[in-house]
Symmetry: D2
Subunit: 329 residues, 4 copies
């Protein structure tokens, strides 16, 4: 049996997902939809699909799955339309920058009885997922504290940031999801602060580029997240979880295992450059997981409810940063 | 020229300082004072000193330096007495659990015109100090964010904790000093939270065992501190400082550089067991620094003002934890 | 333009190469040939090819390339037949266990004017190749000494070993190739010794399982190779090259970057389990290289001459082990 | 009870041993003897000893121990004289560059019934010794193969090399001792080769600067040693021992645990600079061991027989290098 897919969005992330989808046994990418005709055509050709309008793709009863990889501000409408048409949905994070609109999507998905997975690809990173499995196996006892380091190699253009919803909604959304996933508990209390240390233009845009967030869960577990829009040494994505019997530390991945020693010191590779490299395998694994769950009926590792919950934390952190005080959820 | 020293306190930390003092060229430990006669006698013998009362030791004009290594609640009185007698002072941290009393000490020291160094030994740890020097040399640009991990292998007895002033004053006092030292800026805003996850008896004693603190400095630099009274894998003392041009990460020290590989994995040594092992060299270097500064007239790396400032941060963090809200200094 | 390929051999390594070939843009696997009908059929189906006899595959003028992934004792005959039919050849190592027969193959390839690459996949390992590129860029000056550690997780069945030509021809053939590749010089002197320490059945079969080989090149560079048929901790594939200005050390790859710390120590992942995991990316890159060179006319990174040269070293090492004396080439 | 010691030799290594001896409880350095009067006087003062002639020191019945830290070519005569005077002996390696003369020393020591320990300090290195203890505890099963990397940061002056007995007797003597100590078996077969790649003046002096040695023990265990007179990145002293159940790898020590990450990569400290730094703790521990054994009557970890055995291996390796053939012992 072959599952037929329509891909909405032929940009950077759309191309990654489309290629991974096309390589899955039993999956056929039938349509690529994008208002930029050239992008749509080029991607369609490379995965053996046709260019179509969203209306036509959704209207084709053979299409069983839609993969939403279009800009953030289109997600909620496309989820709603896909749910209404009874398509299963794979949607890139976030559900929507507005929690209320995200909640409406979650309700629409539930009402339609379709499957909907949100693309928090870090849950599929081989290193992060190995840590989660060991934690679940009790190898370090009960988790007590999580420390997340999450830094981009450099800041995106200011025009991007202006539409991003701010650093907590744009960048830390992933870290909030990791917090909930690893600690396995809901957050009760959030305190966030931050500064603009990288680029004054970011401050002028009403945003910050360096943040420190603390969360406490209902059962008293603690989480600290430190983020920066700039790490001169590359993409820095690590976390450490302390448990009653030990620690699990997830390090960066490197392009090679060469160590060079010379008169100036001992040198290892920098971390893999950015998310496309670091999470290449995670992106592959998450779409495979989507179809495995469709087949088996098992729940997704990242549901639309997870998407809504992370969004709520992003809102709370934004509020805490602005007020200078902690926020209870 | 020989400097003559009286050591007040022959407990665990007193023995370490006395042995390091006795091994310094140009330094003679003349007196050891401790209400526990056996301890005093045993330590005096091992460093070639005499047992004396504090009165006699302070009364001997040949004594130029007093080293205060007695219990915390005696520090401020002994500083005041030593200052009044015009002795130079080396005092273990903290100055006093009460900021006002610590301020009085600082004023007494200033009025007497004596030198007074507070024993924040982490500033002398070879790894931490190497990071500080590279930071000062500009190797990673301007510091922007500091993440401190500070965990004890296990909790002390509850009777100790009851007299400790609480985890922020007892344990994080070192981390607050590291924050000020590494970021080179004063703190403006503190938010602290915590939980009791290790031992319910600690909660009954009105304290917590797991904390997460965030500090923001006047110039917007950020610091996160995570601490636990328990790390199953040993004494975990690390920090990472992110700068505009890179990162400096300070790792734990290990007893040996043996790596064992077998059917169960690849295994390194645990960190050195506790502070006596990890900071053995730091304790040696800090008393050497004290006498070098006495000789040269250079300022100490850790003044009594640093002691007072760290205490203020401990108070602010305690207040923030109790109120659940951030505190501005 | 599409290149049409016939794959000879549908066993473990044949399946890997066929899948990598089928995923290359511009490459079509048209035939799979294997005397085991089920294997041939199963592999043919998964790559969209047909099952064929070798005669038919070689007889099809549309076939431009043959990939020889059949058992070792069939390589030389298949190379000769493919060359006679003017097909380009990708052949798994070794050319042949007999140097004279391998020389005949090399001559046949040359006479026919076809391209022939031997699958020494380690030259395409991302870590090893990164070291080679840095060496070529002069980052550690002139190479002087190479130390190769090459250990399998466990010994193959004795019946396999009996047909293998002995450990030097079967297992160290890769290491001899790495020696020539990294030092960039021809070997003049070989001394080999070994023992049977893993399994007495290997000794009964006339072979050894643990070896130590030293090679000296014409310009005086040195190489030491240590190998074992058993490493309890997994597949151990590393080398270090010392140059006049530094060292390049190539470490193992790990399945994840999780570090676990607990009461028993600090634990990293074991190396990737065996060659199929460790060299997965290398296998992919080497067939891509084959077609890039076909296209560009650039020489292969591993020619049939390299295959013959490594075989000569294996013979010399075998002779040295048996005689207990060094052998000059 | 105090043990009285005379130190013969006030050069670099003499100063280290004298300071460690003087710091031992129950040990008094009474005499320092050295033909260079200034060196003798300076060292004597720093350890609270007197300058004396060797005759006077040996003639003093209160002297129980002599520590021989003078130039190599004086060792055997001083051992013989000390043994004749019934003094216990601590002697820096080697016993003598001539095996027959070393054998005479060993016989003189035995006949006199005095204790004699040879200073192979690597057996006291915390990392190497930890590996030995784990090996003895069976943590990796039976040892099968040892790979030793032993490189100096730079070559000594040629005039030193001319009197050194050659690289095998001067530098690898330590590695031969490590081989016997770790494998716990006697060597049966040695093959050595080498080149002059660092400095042509070394070749003119009849020596080499880069060597590769293989040894096989009576029970078939294998050892490979690679050495160079130059490592641009510092003093490289490591070994790995493969056993039937795993591997123990001994890494270099570093001055600090700072890791710097910046745009050019991830950088660790270079190894500790040279033997005085790396083996500082080993030198301290070996003289402590000497006196503990004197007290307890336990055998030394490194006897004069070990000194003779290592010398025999150095001779055999030298012969193998010169002849180009393996040597059986």
């Amino acid at each position: 049996m072959t599952r037929t897919v329509a891909v909405f969005g032929a940009g950077r992330i759309g191309r990654i997902h489309a290629a991974n989808l096309a390589a899955l046994p039993g999956v056929q990418v039938r349509y690529v939809c994008d208002p930029v005709a050239d992008s749509a055509a080029s991607l369609a050709q490379s995965v053996g699909a046709q260019v179509a309008s969203i209306d036509d793709a959704i209207g084709d009863p053979a299409v069983e799955v839609v993969a939403i990889t279009s800009p953030t501000d289109t997600h909620s409408e496309l989820i709603n339309r896909a749910a209404a048409a009874r398509k299963h949905i794979f949607c890139e994070k976030p559900v929507d920058l507005s929690v209320p609109r995200a909640v409406v999507c979650a309700e629409a998905v539930k009402a339609a009885g379709v499957a909907c997975m949100i693309g928090f690809q870090r849950r599929f990173d081989p290193t992060f997922n190995e840590a989660k499995q060991r934690l679940a196996a009790g190898e370090i006892g009960e988790p007590e504290m999580l420390v997340i380091t999450s830094r981009d190699p450099g800041a995106p253009p200011v025009h991007y940031l202006k539409a991003s919803g701010g650093i907590f909604r744009d960048m830390l959304i992933h870290d909030f999801d990791v917090c909930r996933w690893i600690l396995g508990d809901e957050v009760e209390w959030v305190s966030a602060t931050g500064s603009c240390l990288v680029d004054p233009a970011i401050e002028e845009a009403g945003d910050i580029d360096t943040t420190a967030v603390t969360l406490r869960t209902k059962s008293g577990k603690l989480c600290q997240i430190n983020t920066s829009r700039r790490a001169a040494y590359g993409y820095d994505q690590r976390f450490e979880v302390l448990g009653s019997k030990g620690l699990l530390a997830c390090g960066n991945h490197r392009p090679s295992e060469v160590v060079q020693m010379d008169a100036s010191g001992v040198h290892h590779d920098k971390p893999e450059h950015f998310f496309l490299q670091r999470y290449r395998e995670a992106y592959r694994l998450e779409v495979a997981h989507f179809f495995e769950c469709l087949q088996s009926g098992e729940p997704f590792r990242t549901t639309i409810a997870d998407g809504v919950a992370a969004q709520r934390l992003a809102d709370a952190a934004t509020e805490s940063w602005k007020s200078g005080q902690a926020v209870r959820l």
